[in-house]
């Protein structure tokens, strides 16, 4: 069996590929930011909130972490439609990804928060800091620094998992590829290109996080040691 590769028939579609890459990046970036903020708040609620809230957040996290992303995407997409709200597929995709990544971020951040020793909080308290000030300066900042590598993995994973939203016709990279391969009948070549594009995206995203980490975590930049 011989297979003749033909990448040239994909060349006319370079603009579509580029648009797919761009949308994937946008979906991932928005979901990452919202997911981080939401996840951090959930982590605070789960670590230090009132008991009822801890249970609610805990239940949400367990449901999300024990069901497939694809199913969550469909539930969000059709759920919103049933509520009678019309939103476009890209927005639905972001919502579904946020719902998903908030749960994972919550667990990672919770581990970070719980790694901060009680004595640190006591010391801040004794210096007269308010609860909020203590939380921000003494708990969250070192917690984030400590779990940053785990968060980065999660957000790279999120970027890759965003391909699933092609199922609700969000116009991201995989959806673009699906269309191109049905136009050209060059499925294998199309997915090779898409695979390489995702690989490149992963490197870019990791690189961006690495630079961001260097900028934000002064201690790590100067000492090079984990906190």
């Amino acid at each position: 069996m011989t297979y003749e590769f033909d990448f040239s028939s994909l060349l006319p579609y370079w603009r579509e590929f580029a648009e797919g890459v761009w949308l994937t990046l946008q979906l991932s970036a928005i979901s990452t930011v919202l997911g981080f903020v939401g996840g951090a708040l959930c982590a605070i609620a789960r670590a230090d909130g009132p008991p009822w809230l801890q249970r609610v957040v805990g239940a949400y996290v367990e449901v999300i972490r024990n069901t497939p992303l694809l199913v969550q995407v469909f539930l969000v997409y059709f759920g919103i439609a049933i509520l009678g709200i019309r939103i476009d597929a890209n927005l639905a995709a972001v919502l579904a990804l946020v719902v998903n990544v908030v749960a994972y971020t919550c667990e990672i951040m919770r581990a970070g928060i719980q790694s901060v020793h009680k004595a640190q909080i006591e010391a801040a308290d004794c210096l007269g800091l308010t609860k909020t000030q203590t939380y921000w300066h003494v708990v969250l900042r070192p917690a984030i620094e400590r779990v940053y590598p785990a968060l980065v993995s999660q957000y790279v994973l999120l970027m890759l998992a965003s391909s699933i939203t092609s199922q609700i016709s969000a116009e991201e990279l995989t959806a673009v590829a699906n269309r191109i391969q049905s136009d050209t009948f060059r499925s294998f070549e199309t997915y090779i290109v898409v695979g390489l594009l995702y690989l490149a995206l992963s490197f870019v995203v990791r690189g961006a996080f690495s630079v961001f980490g260097m900028l934000v975590f002064t201690r790590r930049r100067r000492l090079g040691t984990p906190l």
Partner: protein
């Protein structure tokens, strides 16, 4: 002289364990009081009660006019008047020495960054660590970390400073450098209460020494008379320490 810290008949238990059993003592302005005793005698708990880190079941504690035992206690106002230094330093690991010191003055006293930085430098100089301002805790020795912790507390300009076995985790040389800083503070007129095992320091620097035993104040005596206790228990304790 007015009492800055006054404990009256303080009782405190952890479950069935009676830790403080009717403790009373006073500390006046400018005095240095060393609290000594075996482990488990309640001395650290007494210190923590003074800063409202533990609640008490009975009795009263007044610190700089704050009624610690009261339901209406304003803890934050109390903490502006009282500084505490812990055995385990508890520096914030993600901040430099200088940032550790600047945090509370900027957050609590609302100093500007420039003012806070100057204050931090000044406090670091007082503990002999001016050149370590940009070092992170993990780059400092235990003794240096403890001195930064003292400087951090000093920056809030407390009226009373509490020291909870601050040299217990340090070797003799590092202990010496921390005690030197504390001695300077005492000479500067700071009101200090220290829980310590450093008998020679207590003898040299303390106005009064309080010997605690079984949750009670067993004996109180001036620091310079530490070698001549009146109770056989303290005599034995001092003898075993020296």
């Amino acid at each position: 002289m007015s009492a800055v810290v006054k404990l009256s008949n303080v009782h405190k238990s952890f479950g069935a364990l009676k830790v403080l059993d009717g403790v009373s003592f006073e500390v006046n302005r400018g005095e240095v009081v060393a609290v000594i005793g075996q482990s488990g005698s309640g001395k650290s708990t007494a210190l923590r009660c003074i800063n409202a880190l533990e609640t008490i079941e009975q009795g009263s504690i007044e610190v700089c006019g704050h009624a610690i035992h009261s339901d209406k206690l304003d803890k934050r106002a109390l903490r502006l008047d009282v500084g505490i230094v812990f055995q385990s330093y508890n520096l914030f690991p993600h901040l430099t020495a200088e940032q550790n010191i600047m945090l509370a003055p900027t957050c609590v006293r609302k100093l500007g960054k420039k003012e806070a930085k100057d204050l931090a430098r000044e406090c670091l100089a007082r503990v002999g660590l001016a050149e370590k301002a940009d070092h992170y805790p993990e780059q400092l020795s235990g003794g240096q970390q403890q001195r930064v912790a003292i400087a951090r507390s000093l920056a809030m300009q407390p009226k009373v400073m509490l020291f909870d076995e601050v040299t217990s985790a340090l070797d003799p040389q590092l202990t010496g450098e921390v005690l030197k800083v504390m001695e300077d503070l005492a000479r500067g007129g700071m009101t200090m209460i220290l829980v310590t095992h450093e008998m020679s320091f207590a003898r040299k620097v303390a106005t009064n020494v309080i010997y605690m035993r079984q949750g009670k104040v067993w004996e109180t005596l001036p620091g310079h008379q530490l070698e001549n206790p009146s109770t056989p228990e303290l005599r034995e304790f001092v003898g075993s320490e020296l």
